[in-house]
């Protein structure tokens, strides 16, 4: 797998809050670029090992690439760029979602709720029947 070559860079970028879209694109482009450099080095007469080494050196150090990416805040995720705004929005969304949560719960657990309603209905009917019978026994004189 060619892309394993930049796995540590991928992890570093994701952990630093770079947008996953740009992380994946960067890894793809670096992989292709490395292949082009390697091919050019092989065509110039270098051996496979030396060509790979030259390609890597020409592409540059992974730390330098990561630093260059992190120097562009516009490539970071929204929550990394504006942490306070993101925190406020998340809190507002959570508060806004609170009234809807019981409804969402009901929709998600429809079968259980139907069983519960049926059980309550049966229990209420039985209890009503028992109470009505007792009432009739007490009230109606023999």
């Amino acid at each position: 797998m060619r892309e394993e070559r930049f796995e540590s860079l991928r992890l570093e970028l994701l952990q630093s809050g770079v947008s996953p879209v740009y992380v994946e694109r960067t890894i793809l482009e670096l992989t292709e670029h490395h292949s082009d450099l390697e091919l050019a080095a092989l065509e110039s007469g270098l051996g496979a090992e030396e060509a790979a080494r030259t390609a890597r050196a020409t592409l540059g150090d992974e730390r330098a690439i990561a630093a260059a990416i992190l120097a562009h805040p516009e490539l970071l995720t929204f929550s990394m760029r504006y942490p306070r705004v993101a925190y406020c929005l998340q809190s507002a969304a959570a508060i806004g979602a609170l009234p809807g949560l019981p409804l969402m719960f009901c929709i998600e657990h429809r079968p259980e709720l139907a069983r519960w309603a049926a059980a309550v209905g049966v229990a209420a009917t039985l209890m009503g029947g028992v109470l009505a019978t007792l009432n009739w026994l007490i009230v109606v004189p023999f």
Partner: protein, 118 residues
């Protein structure tokens, strides 16, 4: 190890990338090759740092990107937008102004006169 240039060249990669792409769409490796050719390798950098510049320009609306499969290779081609053309004009003017100033200083037209004969 790839050569690097001092930090005062900030903005130059952006200018060069836009200039390279003003003629036709290219992918990263092509852009770097073109840059090395036209600058006679005067500007050294680790080639991998071209991608944050491209992505940043795309994010800013100066470039648009599209994926294309060529001979089994997945390429991301970049092209300049109208906004990018305006940005190129602005950066070119800025660079001409700065280089004129620096040349003027090097030719001894500064306030202190010729530094070699000060």
């Amino acid at each position: 190890m790839a050569q690097t240039n001092p930090p005062f060249l900030t903005g130059v990669p952006e200018l060069l990338v836009l200039r390279m792409l003003s003629g036709r769409e290219m992918y990263g490796y092509e852009i770097v090759k073109a840059m090395r050719l036209v600058t006679a390798e005067a500007i050294g950098f680790g080639e991998g740092v071209i991608y944050p510049v491209l992505h940043s320009l795309e994010e800013g609306g100066a470039l648009k990107a599209r994926r294309k499969s060529v001979n089994g290779r997945e390429r991301v081609y970049y092209a300049v937008t109208t906004k990018g053309k305006r940005r190129l004009e602005h950066l070119s003017d800025e660079w001409k102004r700065v280089s004129l100033g620096v040349n003027s200083a090097l030719n001894g037209n500064g306030a202190g006169g010729d530094p070699e004969h000060a």
